[in-house]
Symmetry: C2
Subunit: 219 residues, 2 copies
């Protein structure tokens, strides 16, 4: 039942976007009176939280499946698969993507339950980086020296064990860039400049590989 409610909310999210979401409309969709909903969810905010968690899980699953299909030692291909999976998921679920990575919903602040599901997708990238580094497949970028400690040491050791901080920084940059690319495309900021979005995205992913120090894609 709770799942049916969440599903109905997902439907509405897909159509109207996050702030078109209304408890009453969800109730209608699920065939209940608006008050009955409150037997299953404590408040609208809780419903939003559930949708956010669902979103991170769904995105994480999609990325995991795509990346899992690549042979383990093909680090570059794994990174490309992750990037493409994020973009594909965003295109398939634009409002859901916007809920996760667009402007924060006003008056709503995500509770901690949200954090753990959100790490799934980043964990996948971290894996690739750590394994590639351990395998000696990362050309360490020599041009930029970082002397300060910019990152949270706990996170560094937990998620990116054994990874030089320079590379970790580049990884986070590449990660931010990936979502910047996807958001720009999805929110219409590339309209008029880029003609072939697919090709532009793939080319950009290639450049991001260079940024991280991953070998260029084989083909």
């Amino acid at each position: 039942m709770r799942q049916a409610i969440i599903d109905a909310a997902l439907d509405q999210l897909a159509v109207t976007g996050a702030d078109g979401l209304s408890v009453r409309e969800v109730a209608r969709k699920v065939g209940m009176s608006s008050s009955a909903i409150y037997r299953h969810i404590p408040s609208k905010d809780a419903l939003l939280t559930a949708l956010i968690i669902e979103g991170y899980e769904s995105l994480g699953r999609a990325a995991e499946v795509a990346e899992g299909a690549i042979p383990r030692p093909a680090f570059t291909a794994r990174f490309l698969a992750l990037g493409r999976a994020v973009r594909r998921w965003a295109q398939a679920n634009p409002h859901h993507y916007a809920l996760l990575f667009g402007s924060p919903v006003p008056g709503y602040s995500a509770p901690e339950d949200t954090i753990e599901p959100a790490t799934q997708i980043t964990r996948l990238l971290s894996q690739v980086l750590v394994e590639a580094s351990a395998a000696g497949s990362l050309r360490a970028p020599d041009e930029l020296q970082v002397d300060t400690s910019l990152l949270e040491p706990d996170v560094l050791s937990a998620f990116l064990p054994g990874l030089p901080e320079e590379i970790a920084i580049r990884g986070i940059l590449a990660w931010s860039s990936l979502f910047g690319l996807v958001s720009f495309e999805l929110f219409g900021h590339l309209v008029g400049s880029v003609a072939d979005n697919d090709a532009f995205f793939d080319t950009s992913l290639g450049v991001l590989c260079q940024v991280i120090g991953l070998e260029a894609a084989p083909a």
Copy 2:
């Protein structure tokens, strides 16, 4: 008067965010009855449009001032100034930034009046690239060959005259990355991983310079 209304709307935007915006509240702020507002603006959507235009202009001005203070031949410094100006503006006007670069406001689609002011900020970057390229200060990236024509040829020739497409692509990538970085930081996606946001951002900008082919910063 019209300006007073926009200013009041900007105030409200800064406090409540874009979808807390209400014509009635703006009227209250400006000391009018809610109906009187309609002597000056045709609808709420028109008000939103005005805010978006204001935003692009304000951001453009901020970037222009910051970048204008750098000696013309210091291309890298000019790029850094642009990047930092964007970030600074976003931090000073988070809701306004979210209105421009976060999720599109549902049910609202930006009219063409919006396009021209939006180009200002990109024109500044284009300038830097074109001038740097003309001055021979761009190390052309040799590793990635692009055979297709990904970009809109009109835009390429109008905004980026004489610039090789490989570099234009990298420019757009860097631009998207910049906003990805700013959004990630602003929307809280770096919380927990990055300890020193200022340093991380500057370091990332340095990497983006490499991506474009700009010489590393002098100091």
